[in-house]
């Protein structure tokens, strides 16, 4: 017989080792560690791809438009106006008074001014016909603002390579100022050789642009609202979480999902449009929690047991009983899960009649902001803040089918169906995957940009 103290208990408990399936457990651990590392890797890859895609898209939208605008409003106009001026000098040379030096340009002011008037009005007519965005800034009556070509590279007869370099200059209110500035143009002699065909080329270029624009589905800006019915799935990856998750699922009723999307659609081909925008969403569910708070307490009773064992010794055991108190409470609450993120996707559109077209699109939603308001049952089976269980970001994919109805020249009414599915879990636990799918309707307006 010996006495047992804490240390002896400790030694006894630590010394006991039982066999277990060491290899089998290791295989599970190894696979889960690998899976987790792979998952982290994929998260980073997806994030990188999304970031790069967004940057590329923004670059494409911003810089392509800027280049087109520059091409129309500056380069062509200036070259053409300058060439118009040069034509009059060519005409002058045909009459036998060709200026041999640039200084002599000033002597042909009368002729040049009449040709500038003619060229300007012709240019305005062509631009009106083609619907080009270029701003004609030169006029004979009131010259406002004009860029002057400083250096233009001309290859062959009429081929212009690269954007011209400009020197921006403000002129007075008289076109005479413009004419006086002509001697500043370098390489004017080259214009004299090239200009006869520039005007006809100008007309051809504008015509081609006009035709191309008419054949393409225009880019657009759209505002759409969605209302759908969500269905939440709970997937447990660990046996010990099963009852908790089962409780959470049983207590929750999915109600509805609301969303608003603002998108910019960039027409890439006649029917295909690239979509990018912002999306705000809210999912609502109702939680009915009916839980029992059980407390147990051991209390002494009046009864007792008196025993005589086999050695003839008497043993006295005082009676005990366990008092159990059960408190049942029911709570009902509406939980809201908010998401804010960017969307990136593509849309295919087909014209059915003059006013009606149908579309189908697929969009990837990355929500860097996701937060929840409401209550949930925590791991200790107590009511707790819902927000602490939700992950801070999410990834989802959606597809839509619908129709566009043309209300007027620039505005369409959009209506259709949308299916949305979560890719990542709404919960921040790696052992519980909570995803939601929703199917609903969308309604919105689309403003076509020409």
């Amino acid at each position: 017989m010996r006495q047992l103290n804490n240390q002896e208990y400790k030694d006894a408990l630590k010394s006991v080792h039982k066999d277990f399936d060491e290899t089998g457990l290791w295989q599970n651990i190894e696979s889960q560690v690998e899976k987790k590392q792979r998952k982290n890797c994929w998260v980073w890859i997806v994030r990188s791809i999304l970031s790069i895609s967004t940057l590329l898209f923004l670059w494409f939208v911003v810089f392509t438009n800027e280049e087109q605008k520059a091409h129309f409003s500056e380069s062509n106009t200036i070259v053409e106006v300058a060439s118009d001026a040069a034509i009059s000098m060519t005409d002058n040379s045909n009459s036998g008074s060709q200026p041999s030096k640039l200084e002599n340009v000033s002597t042909s002011k009368e002729i040049i001014s009449s040709r500038v008037k003619q060229a300007t009005s012709e240019l305005a007519t062509i631009e009106n016909e083609s619907g080009a965005l270029s701003e004609v800034s030169i006029s004979t009556g009131n010259a406002k603002h004009q860029n002057i070509v400083e250096n233009v590279v001309i290859v062959g007869e009429n081929k212009i390579i690269g954007p011209a370099q400009y020197k921006e200059k403000k002129f007075g209110t008289n076109y005479q100022d413009t004419l006086q500035s002509l001697p500043q143009i370098e390489h004017l002699q080259l214009f004299l050789e090239a200009t006869p065909r520039l005007l006809s080329r100008k007309r051809a270029v504008f015509q081609a642009i006009k035709e191309k624009r008419q054949s393409m589905t225009p880019s657009f800006f759209s505002v759409t609202s969605q209302l759908s019915m969500p269905a939440t799935q709970y997937e447990v990856r660990r046996a010990s979480d099963a009852s908790w998750v089962s409780d959470a699922a049983n207590h929750t009723v999915d109600l509805y999902s609301l969303g608003v999307s603002v998108n910019y659609g960039l027409a890439l081909t006649d029917n295909f449009t690239m979509l990018a925008g912002l999306h705000v969403g809210r999912r609502t569910n109702r939680v009915n929690i009916s839980f029992q708070d059980i407390t147990t307490k051991t209390v002494e009773t009046d009864s007792a047991i008196y025993l005589i064992n086999s050695f003839g010794e008497s043993q006295f055991y005082k009676g005990e009983q366990i008092e159990t108190t059960t408190l049942t409470s029911t709570i009902q609450n509406y939980n809201h899960l908010y998401t804010l993120g960017i969307s990136l996707g593509g849309q295919y559109e087909m014209q059915l009649t003059d006013k009606v077209s149908c579309y189908g699109n697929g969009v990837l939603h990355y929500n860097p902001i996701q937060f929840a308001k409401g209550i949930a049952i925590n791991e200790e089976a107590k009511v707790d803040e819902f927000s602490q269980f939700t992950s801070g970001q999410s990834l989802a994919i959606s597809c839509g089918l619908g129709m566009n109805y043309r209300l007027n020249g620039t505005t369409d009414l959009t209506a259709g169906f949308r299916y949305l599915s979560d890719i990542t879990s709404r919960y921040n636990s790696e052992f519980i995957k909570v995803t939601s799918q929703s199917l609903g309707m969308e309604l919105g307006l689309r403003f076509r940009l020409r």
Binding site: N5, K14, Q32, S240, I294
Partner: protein, 185 residues
């Protein structure tokens, strides 16, 4: 110890062989911890696996200045076990002070039982009692720390430990007498 540190350096770099070696060196101890807290085998294995997953994926959290690697791993294992007990709602702890007479085990528990038999008697304790008993007696936490871990007051922890020891004492005494009686027969 040096070998363990050497292996740990490789684990930090994500070396799969080092992870396996570390597992082989420590798995018996970790499984022993899990078994002391969780009686059901499936939960015990869950806690065991989760401990190693956390050790390998959150290895950067270990600070050698705060304690040994074994102690850190044991702490991770204990936390996993407590988490599972909470989820299973088995950790019903009474935050009340019992009036039960609190004997000190150092003076009145007398036993000739083997380690396995003592282990079995401890395993028969209710989850709450067994948890506090293990945390205090085996892991060496004080009542303040146990109170924080389990969300109860230190006084309640002390009271529950006394109760656990009392039950254990009675169980061991009965067992001892039965063994003695059988030996006498």
């Amino acid at each position: 110890m040096l070998r363990l540190q050497h292996i740990w350096q490789k684990v930090l770099k994500g070396d799969a062989n080092a992870q396996r070696k570390l597992y082989q060196m420590t798995s018996a101890e970790i499984m022993n911890i899990c078994r002391r807290y969780l009686s059901k085998q499936e939960f015990c294995q869950d806690a065991f696996q989760e401990t190693y997953i956390k050790v390998f994926t959150k290895s950067a959290h270990y600070n050698s200045k705060k304690g040994t690697l074994s102690a850190w791993m044991a702490k991770v294992a204990v936390n996993e076990c407590l988490q599972i007990l909470r989820k299973q709602k088995k950790l019903v702890l009474l935050d009340v002070i019992s009036d039960v007479h609190s004997p000190t085990t150092d003076e009145d528990v007398i036993s000739d039982l083997s380690a396995e038999e003592i282990y079995a008697e401890v395993a028969r304790l209710a989850d709450g009692y067994r948890t506090i008993f293990n945390l205090y007696v085996v892991e060496g936490y004080n009542h303040n720390e146990i109170g924080e871990m389990l969300g109860i007051s230190p006084v309640s922890s002390r009271s529950q430990l006394s109760r656990a020891k009392l039950i254990l004492k009675e169980a061991i005494r009965k067992k001892t007498k039965t063994v003695s009686y059988e030996a006498a027969q």
